[in-house]
């Protein structure tokens, strides 16, 4: 025990250069405050005997100061006289001004408790008329710059030892005990370290809880514990539970967000999305086209576009048949856009092969100079003339778009060639369009499950 404190003080004061007050020492070593003060004194004396000036101290002096300025109050005798005069009349300010400054008999006792750094100790002692007590308040390795820094000691104690139950633990520190303390048990979390003595030591708390309606107290207890959950933790640690709550929250939210972008949405997500997007249904239609346009240029947005389109398609599929019709129209529109896009892209994709591009329509044109229509098996087949756009790079490096006539074969079963055409052209671009194509391949189903059955 004797060695402990020397060690502890050596570590904290000398090595860690911390400010140690007698209270911090008493809390750390679980000793009485007076004993802690003695320990501080002993350590201070020994260290300074070894090497002077290593440890600095602040002292707390209690006593009666010399009367530099008298306390201005009335002595009993004088006031008695004044009182009888002024008993039933308004007070006269002139008489009060006549109070003498110096009092011979000072009936008011003034004690001073003064904190002083060791370098000023003698000067401070001189100002005292009589000193009733003096002890070391704190120790530090270097000189104390700002004496206000000592508030740090108490603040640290409040933080470090906040979990201690004062009614239990503080007895060993030498705090004045009060057997009549009434305290409510309002905390639900970490129960006090010694629950049995806690019950004995706080009979009043129990009395309080039993005399009042237990239901009410419980309700309040639970309410208070919820309220005091953040409060019961020390303020510095208050920050930690809150941020720890936040990251999991964020993570969960994050996963929600990302799920919505994933392919193969779950039903729940879809339901959620649909609830949200029911509101934004009118926006879904125009969104299709711009989304489609974007996806041409930026394949990175492929997934998003696909999902948004999926959303919109899912929404549309879920809603009524008129929306289905809208969808049809939209799909058709998309087809056109896709078509042009599809045709543009392979040509754009070959900017270098100008001749190749130019050659193609020429060959096509050469192959089928005539428009013919044949009828066989209920199908009208033939060749027809169609205007096509050709983008050509001319000698200056400019891309020039020309409209030229071209021949293509067609048959009566109009949807078939178009659809067959669409998948092969779009499959190299976007699987989403393929999905859209597949969706449009079965317009009659009007059922969201059709979308999932393929997957």
């Amino acid at each position: 025990m004797a060695q402990d404190y020397t060690e502890w003080l050596a570590i904290n004061v000398l090595n860690d250069q911390q400010l140690v007050s007698y209270r911090s020492l008493s809390r750390a070593l679980k000793v009485h405050s007076n004993l802690a003060k003695q320990m501080l004194f002993d350590f201070h004396r020994k260290q300074n005997a070894k090497k002077p000036g290593t440890v600095h101290a602040t002292y707390l002096i209690t006593g009666t100061k010399r009367k530099a300025t008298p306390i201005t109050d009335g002595t009993q005798s004088q006031e008695h006289g004044e009182d009888t005069v002024m008993q039933s009349s308004p007070l006269l300010p002139s008489s009060s001004a006549a109070k003498p400054e110096e009092e011979d008999v000072d009936t008011i006792l003034l004690q001073t408790v003064m904190l002083v750094k060791e370098e000023h100790l003698e000067k401070a002692q001189v100002t005292f008329e009589s000193i009733t007590g003096m002890h070391i308040y704190s120790l530090q390795a270097n000189g104390l710059g700002d004496i206000q820094a000592l508030t740090e000691c108490n603040r640290k104690i409040a933080v470090d030892y906040a979990s201690e139950d004062p009614l239990e633990i503080w007895k060993q520190y030498g705090t004045i005990q009060n057997p009549n303390v009434k305290r409510r048990t309002q905390r639900r979390q970490p129960p006090p370290p010694a629950p049995a003595p806690a019950k004995d030591a706080a009979p009043k708390a129990k009395l309080v809880s039993t005399t009042s309606k237990p239901a009410v107290l419980k309700k309040e207890g639970s309410k208070d514990s919820q309220d005091s959950k953040p409060a019961s933790k020390p303020t510095s640690a208050k920050a930690t539970p809150e941020p720890s709550k936040k990251p999991p929250m964020n993570k969960r939210q994050g996963s929600d967000i990302f799920k919505s972008f994933a392919k193969g949405k779950t039903k729940a997500q879809a339901a959620q999305e649909s609830q949200e997007s029911v509101v934004s249904t009118p926006k879904a239609a125009p969104e299709d086209e711009p989304m489609g346009g974007f996806s041409d240029e930026d394949e990175a947005d492929e997934v998003e576009a696909a999902v948004v389109e999926d959303d919109s398609t899912v929404v549309n599929g879920k809603s009524k048949k008129d929306r289905e019709a809208e969808l049809q129209a939209m799909m058709n529109q998309e087809d056109e856009v896709m078509e042009d896009a599809a045709e543009d892209s392979p040509e754009i994709a070959e900017p270098d092969a100008d001749e190749g591009a130019i050659d193609k329509p020429d060959s096509q044109a050469a192959d089928e100079p005539k428009e013919t229509v044949q009828v066989e098996n209920g199908r009208i087949r033939g060749r027809r003339r169609v205007m096509r756009k050709k983008t050509v790079k001319d000698e200056d490096g400019y891309l020039v778009t020309k409209e030229e006539a071209a021949w293509e074969s067609f048959s009566e079963d109009e949807p078939a060639p178009k659809k067959i055409k669409v998948p092969p052209t779009t499959s190299m671009n976007k699987p989403a369009a393929a999905a859209a194509g597949k969706k449009s391949a079965k317009p009659g189903q009007g059922n969201i499950m059709s979308f999932f059955s393929k997957k």
Partner: protein, 522 residues
């Protein structure tokens, strides 16, 4: 420099002496809810407050006056009593009772405020209501207009009751302490100007003082039971005010010293024994510094003029400006004291509670840690007050049988503003006791609530101890009453400035002061 033997005990190597655990003296505490309010307080007119007050105090003052002036003769004429203020006749010697009203040039006047708000910058505030332009400008009052020299020049004193007003004159008034709202009886005659010349003046004086322990034993006595209970020797009570915790300032070391002293951890064992004798701590107002969100006039002007946030005016309360550090600090400080000592907390003018008197107790929500020591709001009344008792301002309670009456300082500060050339706070406190009014200047210049039934600020029973917080310095005195009452009046200084705590011995009612300071090299 005499160092007594006691000091060496702690300046030595750790000894194996058993350090004793001290137990604190107990105290019996009975609060009175004289100032607790019911709901729906603002539905009445303020003017009725004066009539009610007059009705309550008129009998008392007339009794005294009739006794004093029964044979008041000048020449051959005897003073006759007049019922109403307007009944006085010219040339007739008579006496009448009414309410004093002081018309002072620099008193805050609402109509002037409204008129001048728009086109004149607020003039520098006045220390007292009748100071001239060469007075010290101090923060506090609003809307005064310049004019008037020192003294009561420019001030008009009137006596008022239900019938009307009567202007008072006479040299007698120059020496007196009078504020608006005091109920007095004056004897004199009406002169040719129509003013009443005052020859003498009487106040209601102190009311009846209950015996010690009357609050606790009174009910039992009425029921005829034995009232002599064995009571132990009473300890002491510590009174402090103006802690001024602001959460940002760095000079809170004195607060820590105070806490350690009260807990009995600091100082030597002799002082610790003394500290163990302190059975209760009373905090009389202003525990927080400037916690009120109501901006002062200068702050409002700054907010309107500068382009803050792009010139947008922020209406209402800006909740982002809330800083919880002061209340946290106060709560922590209280929570460290509560396991050892019971505390009574009165609010002050800077505390987060209502501004109008009587201020209601600071809500338990402000004290998450200390809340455990308060009695739950649903607890039955029979259980008594909590260990940590937040109470009203002003407040009346009984500690160890003695009746305590205290305020956070606002009434006395307001009375101070009315009195020219008078700096004696103790005299004002004494005057307030003799007028039997805790807040005489309410509702004239002191914010209060309108009441219907009775004026809550009228003193019905004389306290044994009357303390007022947040005063410039510590002063104390004993006031004697006509039937042997004795009141110890204490003006408690603000701890933030002075570092003083008043420790009142409950057996003798003699205070002592303990001062906490940090040695200043300068």
């Amino acid at each position: 420099m005499a160092i007594s033997d006691g000091d060496s005990e702690l300046l030595q190597a750790p000894s194996d002496d058993k350090n004793e655990i001290l137990n604190r003296t107990a105290s019996t505490y009975t609060p009175l809810d004289s100032y607790a309010l019911q709901k729906g307080q603002y539905s009445h007119q303020y003017a009725s407050l004066y009539f009610v007050r007059l009705a309550q105090l008129k009998p008392a003052v007339e009794a005294i006056a009739s006794e004093a002036w029964a044979n008041f003769t000048i020449g051959s004429e005897t003073a006759t009593r007049k019922d109403r203020v307007l009944d006085v006749r010219q040339g007739e010697l008579c006496w009448v009772a009414g309410t004093v009203y002081m018309e002072m040039p620099l008193k805050p006047n609402v109509l002037e405020d409204i008129g001048k708000e728009h086109w004149i910058a607020a003039p520098p505030s006045r220390h007292k209501y009748d100071e001239g332009t060469n007075a010290l400008a101090e923060n506090g009052e609003r809307g005064a207009h310049a004019g008037g020299q020192k003294g009561l020049v420019g001030t008009q004193i009137m006596l008022e009751d239900e019938s009307g007003r009567l202007r008072l004159t006479g040299d007698y008034l120059n020496g007196g302490l009078l504020v608006t709202g005091a109920i007095v009886a004056v004897v004199g005659t009406e002169n040719s100007d129509g003013d009443f010349e005052v020859l003498d003046l009487r106040v209601p004086d102190l009311p009846r003082q209950p015996q010690r322990w009357e609050t606790e034993d009174g009910d039992a006595a009425l029921a005829g039971k034995r009232t002599t209970k064995k009571r132990g020797k009473a300890g002491k009570v510590a009174i402090v005010s103006g802690l001024g915790i602001s959460g940002v300032e760095g000079d809170t070391l004195a607060l820590d010293l105070l806490m350690e002293y009260l807990l009995g951890e600091s100082t030597d064992s002799a002082s610790q024994d003394q500290a163990a004798d302190i059975s209760r701590l009373i905090i009389a107002g202003n525990s927080l510094a400037n916690a009120s969100p109501i901006p002062s006039r200068s702050e409002l002007a700054a907010a309107h003029s500068t382009t803050k946030k792009g010139g947008r005016k922020t209406y209402g309360y800006d909740s982002s400006a809330y800083n919880s550090a002061p209340t946290d600090r106060l709560d922590q400080w209280l929570a460290q004291l509560l396991p050892s000592i019971p505390i009574t907390l009165l609010p002050g003018d800077q505390d987060p509670t209502s501004t109008a008197l009587p201020q209601q107790p600071i809500h338990a929500a402000m004290f998450p840690h200390s809340r455990a020591y308060m009695s739950p709001p649903s607890a039955p009344e029979a259980e008594g007050p909590g260990w940590f008792h937040t109470t009203t301002n002003p407040s009346e309670f009984s500690v160890d049988g003695w009746r305590f009456h205290g305020t956070g300082g606002q009434p006395v500060d307001d009375v101070y503003k009315y009195l020219p050339d008078c700096e004696e706070r103790l005299e004002m406190m004494e005057a307030m006791l003799r007028w039997r009014l805790m807040a005489p200047t309410a509702p004239d210049t002191l914010w209060c609530r309108p009441v219907e039934g009775e004026d809550g600020f009228v003193l019905k029973e004389c306290p044994h101890v009357y303390f007022v917080g947040n005063q410039p310095k510590f002063e104390t005195n004993v006031v004697e009453g006509p039937v042997g009452q004795e009141v110890r009046i204490i003006s408690v200084p603000a701890f933030k400035e002075s570092g003083e705590v008043i420790v009142l011995d409950l057996e003798t009612l003699v205070p002592e002061v303990v001062k906490f300071e940090v040695f200043d090299e300068g």
